[in-house]
């Protein structure tokens, strides 16, 4: 920035032609602001010295050499450095030779200065030895000295491959989500909806013995009432004729009321949550002649595995009109249905459900169909679509969990 304290320097640079264009413009603006300095600025121009060609050196002739002298000089060995280098090179003398020798050893000198140093050292043995000694001060690393603990310094990352890590992460997330879901729901439903198991009608070990439960309602009393009402609209004899192996025991109405309800059920199976190594493999059962009532699954039934499975049952699209006695209950049931679907969706997203059996046939009964797959018992679970049943073993480990409209099944 040009100020009144430094403008002289800019004036000088301007007239010497070394002031950059930007600063020239700045200088002009400065002069516009400080017009009193313009006189001084233009006076500078007067100070520029012009070459005076009238002044000549008088003894020029004496300086000239004849041709013979010139030839004689040619005979002298030429200098190692050129005249131009000699003119530019630093003067080496007794006072500065040591620092220049250091600079020479350090490689800090340009060619001209380095040559000047070499000439100075070559001219005198004393300085030549000094230069050699200085060159000896360059120390070389001892390559035999090596750090002994190199291996211990290295780091080795023992990690999970990315692909496997993803699996572990996914598994952990699924487990956490499932645990969160299950244990956040249990406190709500455990105390309200869990019902005791009802043994299979007749011989529990008979694979064809199926016990069904009435379509549950809000609590036990209306549940039974509704069931009885449904029974009145169902022919026990007809059902018995179609399912002759079903033997009604102590609660025949209770069982028949359900069988007669044309209910569509979404069956979702979550496999492998509990494993019992000593469990008996399920015995495949022959197909039963109950085509009108038995729900058929698409494709063959899953291969039996020597373990207890957990089935998640939920209503997907119940035909409430056909089994609900009054229309005023329907809205509540539809609400349950929506919530049931939502819950089923949540379970599917968090647990990786592997089988969903949609069944909408009015005259089907998936429970009977499942009886053919080796079901040994059916337990009534809850009073509405969000009934949850849990069964734990002696150690408190969860061995069965069912969510839905009141059914948990256990394979033999």
């Amino acid at each position: 920035m040009i100020t009144r304290d430094n403008y002289m320097l800019f004036f000088l640079d301007y007239y010497e032609g070394v002031l950059p264009e930007a600063q020239r413009e700045e200088l002009m603006r400065f002069l516009d602001r400080h017009s009193d300095l313009k006189v001084e600025f233009y006076d500078f121009e007067l100070f520029e010295l012009q070459k005076d060609s009238r002044v000549k050196y008088p003894g020029k002739g004496d300086l000239k050499k004849d041709v013979d002298d010139c030839d004689e000089r040619k005979a002298v060995p030429p200098l190692k450095i050129s005249m131009r280098d000699s003119e530019m090179a630093i003067e080496v003398n007794d006072e500065n030779y040591e620092s220049l020798f250091v600079a020479y050893v350090e490689g800090d000198l340009d060619d001209a200065d380095a040559a000047a140093v070499e000439m100075f050292a070559a001219a005198d043995e004393k300085y030549g030895r000094e230069l050699r000694l200085m060159q000896m001060t360059k120390v070389q690393p001892d390559k035999h000295i090596q750090y002994p603990g190199k291996a211990a310094l290295k780091r080795h990352f023992i990690g999970i491959p990315q692909k496997r890590k993803w699996h572990y992460t996914s598994a952990a997330a699924a487990v956490l989500l499932l645990a969160t879901l299950v244990y956040s729901l249990f406190p709500v439903f455990d105390s309200t909806y869990i019902a005791e198991e009802i043994p299979v009608v007749g011989d529990q070990d008979a694979p064809e013995a199926v016990a069904a439960t009435p379509v549950p309602q809000q609590d036990a009393v209306p549940l039974i009432a509704e069931a009885e009402e449904v029974i009145s609209r169902t022919s026990v004899e007809e059902l018995t004729a179609q399912t002759p192996s079903v033997r009604f025991a102590q609660q025949p109405e209770y069982t028949r009321s359900y069988i007669g309800g044309p209910i569509a059920i979404d069956l979702t199976t979550l496999r492998g949550t509990t494993v019992r190594s000593n469990a008996e493999p399920p015995v495949p059962m022959p197909e039963r002649p109950v085509s009108r009532l038995v729900a058929r699954t698409e494709g063959p039934p899953p291969a039996p595995e020597p373990r207890e499975e957990v089935f998640w049952l939920a209503y997907g699209n119940p035909n409430v009109e056909s089994w609900m006695a009054t229309d005023d209950v329907a809205p509540a049931k539809e609400q349950e249905e929506r919530l049931s679907n939502l819950l089923l969706s949540m379970i599917g997203q968090t647990t990786g459900i592997d089988r969903v059996i949609p069944e909408t046939a009015e005259d089907s009964n998936p429970l009977l169909g499942m009886a053919g797959e080796g079901i040994s018992r059916i337990a009534p679970v809850a009073g509405n679509a969000f009934g949850i049943e849990t069964i734990r073993d002696e150690s408190g480990r969860l061995v069965r969990l069912a969510i839905g409209d009141g059914f948990a099944i256990t394979r033999r």
């Binding site: 001060t137 120390v139 603990g149 310094l153």
Partner: protein, 161 residues
């Protein structure tokens, strides 16, 4: 810097850092500790330090760790040019290397450090300044004084031999 690059730094620079510290202190145990400490510090910041800056970081860290250690260790008594004058020379030197080693040991620590960084590692004045915390001019002055001291020592020994 990746783990692989870090391990590459161990291969490339641990010997150099170790030599630098060992020649400065003459203490193998201290040199090992300083190297280990320097790499440990670098590992802690491995995500921040680029592979290209690793060498400079290691030498800088090692130098400062060494200075701290020397300050703590009162036994460290660096020789200087005055002690050099009072030294009784012998003819037990078998070659220039030993003479130079001895001369190096007699330099004041800062001169020895800058000479080692310059000659062993080929650092520029500016780089040495960054490592040692000196200005470039100071580095030049220390190198000049160190060279003159080394030269004088060699000349005296050379005369005796």
């Amino acid at each position: 810097m990746t783990t692989a690059q870090y391990n590459q730094c161990v291969d490339d620079h641990s010997d150099g850092v170790y030599r630098f510290i060992l020649k400065n202190t003459g203490d193998e145990e201290l040199a090992r500790d300083v190297v280990q400490d320097s790499f440990e510090k670098m590992w802690r910041r491995v995500g921040e330090i680029g592979f290209e800056q690793a060498r400079s970081y290691l030498f800088t860290t090692a130098y400062r760790t060494m200075i701290d250690a020397i300050r703590k260790n009162s036994k460290q008594q660096p020789a200087d040019e005055t002690t050099l004058n009072g030294h009784s020379y012998t003819d037990e030197y078998s070659g220039l290397k030993e003479i130079l080693e001895e001369a190096l040991n007699r330099l004041v620590p800062i001169q020895r450090s800058v000479i080692l960084l310059r000659d062993y590692e080929g650092y520029s004045y500016q780089e040495i300044g960054k490592i040692t915390g000196l200005s470039e001019s100071q580095v030049k002055v220390y190198i000049y004084r160190a060279r003159v001291s080394l030269k004088n020592y060699i000349r005296r020994i050379d005369a005796v031999i």
